[in-house]
């Protein structure tokens, strides 16, 4: 099978195992996927804390626009003169908050962490297809993070034109302070980020296609792998488009081109010479990534949830095939719906119609996924580990946030909802909260796998309930503000008489946000304390079926000391009536050819003609591609 080459590759690799790599090779420039996943996770957590802190700062401004906060001046200096946030800096905070959360936490922090950790372990491979590329992927991400954050230390401040960075606002350094050097740094950071995400994505795809262990056919893969697989495909196909868009923007800013600029007169400067460009072009390019991006964020979370829910409900995930097909449908459709962000840009209304049709179709596979999650709980035997709680929380957010998508995907309704707090509520629930919960679920679930220690359950319960309730109290009321026409990205509402009625709601939201933020201290404490002082984890603490739990708790470069386990069945054989135990790990030999029907009866095996994986066209393509980058380790 396809793994033959890799296995021989590792025969000599095993011989090196006894010699410990140097500190730098082990902890910093590591090529081991488990270490890289930890690097992604820790960086993601740090970025997440920063993003959350920013949201608290600007929420304070929204709740008490006339109040002066001494501590702000202390930490922000001139950006909060007399303890009051500067309007430009408010925009900068919102922009960087959005950028950090979307790209740095929920793309790199989530997908980077778990794709890295789980793909090799769950497919049964000793490492990624190209460990070196994998290392580069992390370090590009790191450089990108540093570049982005460095914009807080320049005179004109970070990019401030929203996380979408629409030109002309972002293209004209004179249009607002943040559009100067800050935006240059933002664009640079994004370019690094795209490189990182491409290096990662290509690796994930080739590993999944090429390096599955014996018996691990695609239809036996855990749903996590399917989710990471589609996520990586989305990333590889859509990030380059953003790269193009960003490069054009860089050209417009620095080299006098007019891709996005036309007919502009700037106060204090006069008529610009640019003609013929279109700012709408940027929006097309941006959202061609931007929409798939929200699924790049969400799909890994959904994959993690599938795994966690099945494991903890002790039931097979309901409708495995339907789950895979709906993932595939969502991934495909996400490429042709970007226009729903542009209904009111003045583009041809006919296009609006088309984008409305395809957008609302996405609701169908999404609904199927929700029903399947719920059906998996039905008649289960549910263990509420913190991971399970967060997974259930995700489903709840996915429902609440997904349903408001039906309003926003409707071009007619979007007229009055676009860019209001209704949108803020929608995407924070369906993409923000849901994906963060997926990430949390993953952290609690695979913490033993990552660190060989257990996290404290009770702290986890507190963490979950506080965060869950706080998140709903933050984002649910925002729907109503949006319905009343309250625009987003407003520094304060006190200058608009009719929005006065929302003052106390704004206070409620901010207080809830602060409580939610404080609850994260429980998590941070639990996380870091358990790394060092946590209870030792047993081999398979959740009695799970997947392969990652067969590798020894102590980390080895190469994952398994001996041969890689062979897979005999799918990942979701929980509570099979013909078994004493309520789980049936994939690697345990048994009646592996059997086929069990819904009620547990054993059926004759359907004869399936296997095409050797190595001969499938996609495999050939990705193999040759990844070989380009796989360097022999000394």
């Amino acid at each position: 099978m396809s793994t033959a080459t890799i296995q021989t590759g590792h025969a000599n690799h095993d011989a090196h195992e006894h010699q410990e790599p140097s500190f730098v090779r082990k902890y910093i420039f590591s090529t081991d996927h488990k270490m890289i996943s930890k690097q992604f996770l820790i960086t993601g957590i740090i970025m997440g804390c920063l993003g959350m802190f920013m949201s608290v700062l600007f929420r304070l401004q929204l709740a008490w626009p006339d109040q002066s906060f001494g501590f702000m001046e202390t930490i922000l200096g001139t950006w909060a003169k007399d303890g009051k946030l500067d309007p430009n800096f408010y925009m900068a905070l919102v922009t960087i908050h959005g950028t950090i959360m979307v790209f740095y936490v929920l793309t790199a922090g989530l997908s980077g962490t778990f794709s890295n950790l789980l793909i090799p372990l769950q497919v049964g491979a000793r490492d990624m297809a190209s460990p070196f590329m994998n290392m580069l992927s992390y370090w590009f991400f790191f450089i990108s993070s540093v570049t982005l954050l460095s914009s807080f230390f320049i005179e004109t401040g970070p990019a401030s034109s929203g996380w979408t960075v629409y030109p002309p606002l972002s293209a004209l350094p004179k249009a607002m302070p943040g559009s100067g050097l800050g935006t240059t740094l933002w664009l640079l950071a994004i370019v690094f980020f795209i490189v990182s995400s491409l290096l990662g994505g290509i690796n994930y795809i080739s590993t999944i296609l090429n390096m599955r262990t014996k018996g691990m056919s695609m239809n036996r893969m855990p749903l996590t792998l399917w989710a990471f697989f589609f996520t990586a495909i989305l990333g590889v196909l859509s990030f380059p488009v953003l790269l193009g868009g960003a490069l054009f923007l860089i050209f417009d800013r620095s080299f006098g081109t007019s891709f996005y600029l036309s007919d502009i007169y700037l106060q204090g400067i006069g008529a610009l010479t640019n003609v013929g460009g279109s700012p709408i072009l940027y929006q097309h390019l941006f959202w061609f990534l931007g929409h798939p991006e929200v699924y790049i964020i969400l799909l890994p979370a959904l994959g993690i949830t599938s795994e966690v829910i099945a494991t903890n409900a002790r039931k097979p995930i309901f409708g495995y095939t339907a789950m895979v097909i709906s993932l595939m449908a969502i991934a495909f459709l996400s490429f042709i719906v970007w226009g729903h962000h542009m209904f009111i840009t003045g583009m041809n209304p006919f296009l609006g119609t088309v984008f409305m049709y395809v957008t609302l179709i996405i609701a169908v596979p999404s609904a199927v996924k929700t029903f399947n999650y719920i059906a998996t709980l039905w008649k289960g035997n549910i263990r509420f580990t913190p991971a399970m709680l967060f997974a259930i929380g995700l489903v709840s957010f996915f429902i609440s946030g997904g349903l408001t998508g039906i309003y926003l995907g409707n071009s007619a309704l979007d007229i009055n909802l676009h860019d209001t707090y209704f949108v803020v509520a929608h995407f924070h629930l369906v993409m923000g909260s849901a994906a963060i919960f997926g990430m949390m679920s993953g952290i609690y679930h695979w913490f033993p796998r990552m660190f060989g220690k257990m996290m404290n359950n009770t702290l986890g319960y507190f963490h979950f309930w506080f965060t869950f309730i706080a998140a709903y109290m933050v984002f649910f009321p925002m729907h109503f503000m949006g319905l009343a026409g309250v625009p987003r990205r407003y520094y304060q509402f006190t200058l608009i008489p009719e929005f006065g009625v929302w003052m106390d709601v704004n206070v409620l939201i901010t207080v809830s946000a602060i409580i939610g933020a404080l609850a994260q201290i429980l998590f941070l404490y639990n996380f870091f304390y358990s790394i060092f002082k946590g209870k030792k984890a047993v081999q398979n603490p959740w009695e799970s079926n997947t392969l990652e739990w067969t590798a020894p708790v102590k980390h080895l470069h190469g994952n398994w000391p001996g041969a890689i386990p062979t897979v005999y069945r799918g990942a979701y054989e929980y509570s099979r009536p013909d078994r004493e135990e309520d789980f049936y790990p994939q690697h345990i030999p048994g009646n592996d050819n059997e086929h069990v029907d819904d009620h547990g009866y054993i059926l004759p095996t359907p004869v399936r003609k296997e095409i050797p994986v190595a001969e499938k066209p996609a495999t050939v393509f990705f193999t040759s591609f990844s070989r380009l980058f796989s360097f022999k380790r000394a």
Binding site: D66, Q67, M91, Y166, L172, M176, L261, D263, I264, Y265, T273, V275, P279, K315, G319, A322, I344, T345, G346, T353, I361, V364, A367, L377, K379, G380, F384, I392, V395, S396, I399, I406, N410, S411, A412, L413, I415, N416, D419, T420, T458, W465, I469, M473, P477, F480, A484, R489, Y491, L495, I496, P497, G500, V507, V511, I514, I515, S575, P577, D598
Partner: protein, 503 residues
Amino acid sequence: MLAVGAFMLFAAFIAFNKVYDIASPSTVVQSAAWFGVGDDKFEPVKVQTTEQTLSSNINWSIAIFVLLVVLVIANVFDISGLAARLSGKENLSGNNVNKYIMIIFLILGFIGVYWEFSHHGKYTLLRNSSSEHGVEYDSMFNVTLILTMIVFVITQALLFWFSFKYAKSPNRKAVYHAHNNKLEVFWTLIPAIVLTFLVLKGHQTWRAITYNADKSKSQNIEIFAYQFGWKARYAGADKILGAADYKYISGANPLGIAVKSEVEKLKLELDTAIMNDRKALKDLNSSLSQLRIQLELYKGLADRTNVVITDKEIARIVSGEVKDELEESIRRKSKQLERMKAIEDNKTVFATMFNNAADDDVISTEIHLIENRPVTFIFRSRDIIHSAFLPYFRVQMNVVPGMMTQFTFTPTKSTTKIRSEKNDNTFDYYLYCNKICGTSHYNMKIKVIIESESAYNTWMQSQKTAFGKEAAPMAVPVSLPSDTTQMRLDSLPVNKLQRLTSR
């Protein structure tokens, strides 16, 4: 564990106390008090009222209540966990506690949703559309609301109910049930059918709004956006909105409309500016050893142009930044002049643009519309993307530089009517900017007044043309000419002309 509980409680109380401190003594903005203020300046009036603090406190008490429930239940962990440990059984106490919180959360959550709808639902625009298409919009909205709420209630209830019902019990094994094709087909088809219905209704609503049949008999008003404000341009006596071009924008002609005398003035201005720039550049270009003198020279120029020379400015001069800027400015202005001349040289283009139609246009800082008369807003941006948002009318359209956009609608509720409906004598409609556009984005708005025909005419009578020959313009006639096509600004090939002439 109790320590954790105490910590969270403590944190929550600190937060609440802070709120309480801030909310009571100083600056709670009381909504009703806002409206007593004059037209243009909306200085918020800060009033301290007990009602306000009270209503905030209701929120707090609910928040505290929810948190307390969680805390109390969670504290049960220790006790029952201990009991389980003593009796040597598998410890399911955590599981059981969570199972009960699940069901409590479900119930409190639904109560919270209901509370939200009853308390904040009334501020939303659901029942208040002030335009003709708004009625259709609202019915689309309500249908979506009802359907999604049904799904919301059912799925959330099942999710938490199952979590409660099927929580782990030691003497039960989960049912091995991997799929059920009939069920899955069923719950794929149901959403598909519902969504087909929503899509078709949405399509119909969208078409009705965007391919508005009233377009041909509507009054055209240009809405002009700039950092950070709005202007409205009315066609004046000739019923034609004159052509305009961003190249003609000047201090005196903020919309850049094609008025010959203004354009001549601008050309002179530009010439002078270029001359000044050149002079400054020449001064700057002298040798570096004469820096002091240069600074003096530059300062002289600066005095004329009201630029303050600071240390920072000096640094910019020394670094050559100012020189670059001057060169760039000269290049830009020369290009502008060149393009203006190109338009003049092209006789047909010139004749179409400068047909005196703009001479009597009225530029206003308020938007006045006639009740029940269709109107088409034609949007133009001076600098960056803005978005014109009129929530009460269910109207929003981006305002994009280099591309005109438009929106046709019919306001049906006059300002007077909505005031009495809202029981608020000071209420006014506004058009807000709803696309991030810079520092003062949050304060970029223009008042919209819907009034009767006669009130509109009176108002129009009091307006002055931008640079008109007549002192007082005539009202835009209310009866529209039969040939309405010539009124349409978008029928003028202005944009095309620009393209032709700008290279």
